[in-house]
């Protein structure tokens, strides 16, 4: 049997408005300096004229509580994107790393109490990356040491062979630059 048609929730109509409109609704309660803050009753009267649907007073009050949280996350997102753009100036950082970094900044910034957790998480991420880089360096060093040992053995082997020694010297130069 078909389920009865379910209607969109009143608050969902407001929340699903385009971002520009949500910012307009925000500005009605949080005007720029010198602007006039609208009362809920005035906004309730304005909504049908602007959007073609009505909302109850309690829905509007709930909506503005939601809008405050939404705005904070939006601002945090902007901040995270700016931080990402700044970090992206370093060409050695990959897009995936930048995305992870931006996500951490977003969460740290979006917290009401901006407690340390978000930033601890950011720091942990940096430390994990440093540890990874150190491990990589260790591995490179170990590999180089093995190659050095091999070259020493080779030098002993080709001692007295001038053409082979010339190639050997070139090989050492290349290795130094690596």
């Amino acid at each position: 049997m078909d389920e009865p048609l379910r209607e969109p929730r009143e608050d969902a109509k407001l929340k699903n408005l385009p971002e520009e409109e949500l910012l307009v609704l925000w500005s009605w309660r949080h005007p720029e300096q010198g602007g006039k803050k609208l009362k809920f009753s005035a906004i309730q009267a304005e909504i049908p004229l602007r959007y073609g649907f009505t909302v109850s007073g309690s829905t509007l009050s709930d909506f503005y509580a939601w809008l405050k949280v939404w705005k904070r996350w939006r601002d945090a997102q902007d901040f995270a994107m700016q931080a990402r753009a700044e970090l992206a100036k370093d060409p050695t950082i990959s897009d995936a790393e930048l995305d992870r970094f931006a996500e951490r900044v977003l969460k740290a910034e979006a917290a009401v109490n901006r407690d340390v957790k978000g930033y601890v998480s950011l720091r942990r991420m940096t430390l994990a990356e440093k540890k990874e880089a150190r491990e990589r360096d260790k591995l490179t060093l170990a590999t180089k040491t093995d190659v050095e040992k091999g070259l020493d053995a080779l030098a002993a082997e080709i001692e007295g062979n001038a053409p082979a020694m010339a190639i050997y010297q070139k090989l050492r130069e290349v290795l130094k630059k690596a």
Partner: protein, 89 residues
């Protein structure tokens, strides 16, 4: 005897989805949800009520979890079904 919750169980469950539907691509931890839900309802919701509401929404497949290895926390996300539930009466 435990006091009566100031916010109804149904309302807390709905606010969990509402909070997760804000920037739905970003997972939220239990403590973030506690903070957000309390802001949405004007306070009065305990961590236990938040946990119960998370569990209920999870059981209904309105939300899902992912473990973030780096931050060592479980994060919650709203599902497609949860978004649908959030938009209709």
């Amino acid at each position: 005897m435990a006091g009566k919750p100031t916010v109804s169980v149904g309302r807390v469950r709905q606010k969990i989805r509402e909070a997760l539907n804000i920037r739905p691509g970003s997972g939220k931890t239990e403590s973030m949800l506690e903070e957000m839900v309390n802001e949405l309802v004007g306070g009065g919701v305990s961590l236990q009520e938040i946990r119960d509401a998370i569990k209920w929404n999870h059981d209904q497949v309105f939300i899902r979890s992912e473990y973030d290895d780096e931050a060592e926390v479980t994060e919650w996300f709203i599902t497609g079904l949860g978004i649908e539930q959030e938009n209709i009466k």
